[in-house]
């Protein structure tokens, strides 16, 4: 299953609802393009909802990191929402859990951008 992205705006924050697999190839490219698109439209507050991400590999992890640094370098902020256990564990062992700002509640995550 390839990755799909749905975007919506909540209180000035661009929420990207991701589903499927973020892996080398299509999944990573889809995420990269989606981040590029919302940034090109002026969004600098981005919340990635990973609740329906079934699988992520090292390429996908790298793409999350690249998205994070791109948004930060543009003066914005990127947070993660609803990690599955698998993604949570991967971010733990790669020590990225403390790099990202991670939330379980969308309302709280949106508030944290302000």
């Amino acid at each position: 299953m390839s990755m799909k992205v749905a975007t919506r705006q909540v209180d000035g924050v661009m929420v990207l609802d991701l589903s499927g697999r973020i892996t080398l190839g299509e999944g990573s490219v889809t995420l990269r393009d989606a981040i590029h698109d919302v940034m090109a439209k002026g969004s600098k507050k981005i919340l990635l909802n990973l609740g329906n991400i079934s699988y992520i590999d090292s390429s996908g992890i790298g793409e999350l990191v690249s998205a994070f640094t791109s948004v930060k370098n543009a003066g914005g902020d990127l947070k993660l929402l609803n990690l599955t256990k698998k993604v949570h564990d991967l971010l733990q062992i790669t020590k990225l859990y403390t790099v990202f700002d991670i939330w379980d509640s969308e309302t709280s995550a949106i508030s944290a951008f302000k």
Binding site: G62, F68, L96
Partner: protein
């Protein structure tokens, strides 16, 4: 030497155990890609082109093979991920997607462990020269975590230089919760 058989667009090569001639029973189980009893070994070997589709094929084969070998539902995805990362390394970094180069993946399960070997036909690399992805200067890099994840999920990882290419051997030992029978 047994002849490879064409199956679903890729070669499923049956290999006899190195220590003795295969029995009829072993050959029957090998051809089905399923596990054998304690004293025997199940083996599957694939030779595939350097493509992303091959990465998926190797990953799915690893997942099914590990499950049939009796590894639990938490361990099987980790094995599959480690094998996927090894396949990505072989095809992307080793063979550089060169259509003239192939990747081989062999899977072996015995009473002690699952052993996976992934080999490419690239120029080789120095495993001692891989940057630590956990180091502060590397933590925000967009790549370089594949070998780290392989080592995190497998019990043993060995590198062997081929001529040309690199072979990674990934080993996952059975635990008491994953009996051989």
């Amino acid at each position: 030497m047994l002849e490879p058989i064409q199956r679903s667009g890729f070669f499923l090569k049956k290999k006899p155990p190195s220590t003795h001639a295969p029995t009829a029973r072993e050959l029957r189980f090998c051809s089905q890609g399923t596990r054998l009893h304690d004293s025997t070994t199940s083996r599957v070997s694939l030779t595939l082109p350097s493509s992303l589709e091959s990465v998926d094929t190797i990953e799915h084969t690893a997942q099914g093979f590990a499950a049939r070998a009796g590894f639990d539902e938490d361990t099987v995805p980790n094995i599959a991920m480690a094998v996927r990362e090894a396949a990505v390394n072989a095809i992307l970094h080793g063979n550089s997607y060169n259509p003239a180069k192939q990747v081989t993946a062999s899977f072996e399960a015995n009473s002690d462990a699952l052993v996976v070997r992934i080999a490419d036909q690239g120029t080789g690399f120095d495993p001692g020269n891989i940057p630590d992805p956990l180091a502060p200067e590397n933590i925000l890099r967009g790549s370089g975590r594949g070998i780290f994840l392989i080592r995190a999920f497998m019990d043993e990882v060995h590198f062997r230089q081929l001529h040309p290419g690199t072979e990674l051997t990934l080993i996952k030992h059975r635990t008491p919760a994953q009996p051989a029978a």
